[in-house]
Symmetry: C2
Subunit: 381 residues, 2 copies
């Protein structure tokens, strides 16, 4: 099931509420990525404490490991990873696309060799639906072909983008049919493709809207294109999607991208950036980014962000805040605690940003929020 | 300051209470090891939640990184690592000994090249006291030479062990003098050496007892000797130490070793085993050890130990327990969450074991506890 209520709008920006089989999600929302059934480096209780409402799992990865037998034994991903709130899973399309030369795409699906053990595998729209059904994800994504920005060093042509988009459309129908056949009681989202061509994106979204799916995503962005190209698509597509259904911008992005996406009418986001950057000692804060490895932090007694309430910045359960100097030291020594605290901090920052956005939308003050957000981020840590 | 009260005894086993500058420690106690100012892979709040009373830091490592300038800026290790309960630091003796061919020992101290950057360094009893003073550790350990079990492939001879022990004794006096000169208000422990020779150990402990230090450790065990040799020393030395002072068995050991040590009159233990083994997917439980990588756990829906109350086995903050199958999966995928949850579990097990030992001693029921402990551990998971 999926119910979506639009609680408020502010120009194109939307404040909404999504009801799924495993609970309610206030939107706009950022969804932490838990590829293999774990948000990398974060304890389940930390995710809960920082107010994560919904997390992602990756169909491709979970299909390979632990595999469907194990996941079916646990009745899906929720109990397996001890997370009883909503879960969204991608379709595996982006991952097989990322395999590059190791895969072969046909009308039927994608042949590829398992990067884990070399097994020859065949992922189709039907298999993707079967895996996501076994995962029991609250939101399943259609299997699609992620249209690349470049093909063999050349910008993707209109004809290439059209063929790719039309393939994804045919796969969308097969996904819908298989989803129905499986009697899946969760929700299936379609994915708008069309590369950097607005007309193709409009063709894609019209055809998908005709399928009357419970939600729609914008795919094929954040695939190597210049920032302005991404911004052009974000300005174009979300507002053209059905207004009474949730809109999900896949794989995006920086804090600035999230604010831009909300302004353009996006309700849902996911990105590996907060956790991946944390593991590379790159911290996001209200006042700009902070690169922990910089020698200037060696003696810096301040917390990452004195206004932040995360485990690292404010302490938790009777422990105090930790300093930039301490985190710099942990990072230099290769201690696990550095990426652990950095991941908590970055995710906490992303989730707090979205909470502030929702508050601003509730008050009809998104423009003022956005102005302050940009001023704060430009201030510097 | 250090105050030690003996609350109860049961044959040689002792139930005590240690009051230090940063708080009270109920003994017998296990002290998690936080080499570089972090117990590897464990959040400060998790350590607090599992009831750790005192943690270790390593003088040698912290001297090299972050170095004394940074530690002095924070007034010592407590604020730097956001831990306001007691801290014990070793003297660096064991670490320089572990450098093997890279160091040169003389009467004055130990010359060695920094394993971090190759800098030529000179660690002496006085420097060790100065570093531990800067760390403001509640318990500082004397700088000693850790007498090895073998020297160049040959069992250490009586003459070699005697020379080494006597050097440590002379260093103990220099440490005491420097500790006083620095006006350090914490507590200094002496370390009994003497290798595997009981008579040398008695000579060492008599001379150290004459210094009237506030506590004593048994060093030079768990240095590659056979288990029976270690047991022989544990049976010999602790009971001969001054009964009104805390006794610390350094670097030991398995759960069975802890129970043996308590029975022999030991009050304090530290060991890297719970965290190091956790990172190698080796879990300790009430019912024996569990090697997570074993294929039999692939589909095992049980928690590590259904009777355990740790984050992994019982959940925390609204999350459920996780299964052996999930942990096996995380481990296979190289996910950080595997060592994170395993480290919490193993430390929780060690700390719970010590709490149960204290409860048994409070009730005068240590023998019954010990019998049940061995029966449970032999049962198998």
């Amino acid at each position: 099931m999926l119910r979506f209520e639009l609680l408020a709008t502010d120009d194109l920006a939307r404040r909404g509420r999504l009801t799924l089989n495993h609970g309610i999600v206030e939107t706009p929302v950022f969804m932490p990525v838990g590829t293999y059934g774990t948000v990398k480096g974060v304890l389940p209780a930390s995710l809960m404490a920082m107010g994560a409402q919904i997390i992602l799992g990756n169909t491709f990865h979970l299909w390979l490991r632990p595999g469907l037998d194990v996941l079916r034994q646990f009745g899906g991903l929720h109990r397996f990873e001890a997370w009883d709130k909503p879960i969204l899973t991608d379709s595996g399309g982006f991952q097989v696309w990322s395999l590059g030369a190791m895969r072969k795409i046909s009308e039927e699906g994608v042949h590829f060799a398992s990067p884990v053990n070399g097994d020859k595998l065949f992922l189709t729209p039907e298999v993707s639906m079967q895996v996501q059904h076994a995962l029991n994800s609250d939101i399943a994504m259609q299997f699609d072909e992620c249209t690349p920005y470049q093909i063999e060093g050349q910008l993707t042509t209109h004809a290439q983008a059209r063929d790719s988009m039309q393939l994804s459309l045919r796969w969308a129908r097969r996904c819908r049919d298989e989803f129905v056949r499986l009697d899946n009681r969760n929700a299936l989202f379609g994915i708008v493709q069309g590369g950097m061509f607005e007309a193709l994106r409009e063709e894609s979204l019209s055809a998908l809207a005709a399928l009357d799916l419970p939600g729609y995503a914008i795919g094929g962005v954040s695939v190597g294109e210049p920032k302005e190209e991404m911004q052009r698509i974000i300005a174009h597509t979300p507002q053209r999607l059905p207004s009474h259904k949730p809109r999900y911008l896949m794989g995006v992005g920086t804090p600035e991208d999230l604010v831009l996406g909300v302004a353009a009418g996006v309700d849902m986001f996911d990105c590996v950036m907060p956790t991946r950057n944390a593991r590379n000692a790159h911290l996001f804060t209200r006042f700009g980014d902070l690169r922990l490895r910089n020698a200037r932090y060696k003696t810096d007694a301040l917390p990452i962000d004195p206004t932040c309430g995360c485990h690292a910045c404010a302490g938790e359960g009777g422990t105090g805040s930790v300093s930039r100097a301490y985190l710099h030291h942990l990072e230099r020594c290769g201690e696990m605690l550095a990426p652990m605290l950095a991941s908590i901090h970055n995710l906490h920052y992303y989730l707090t940003l979205m909470r502030e956005i929702r508050d601003a939308l509730d008050k009809g003050a998104f423009a003022a929020f956005s102005a302050r957000f940009h001023a704060d981020r430009a201030r510097g840590v």
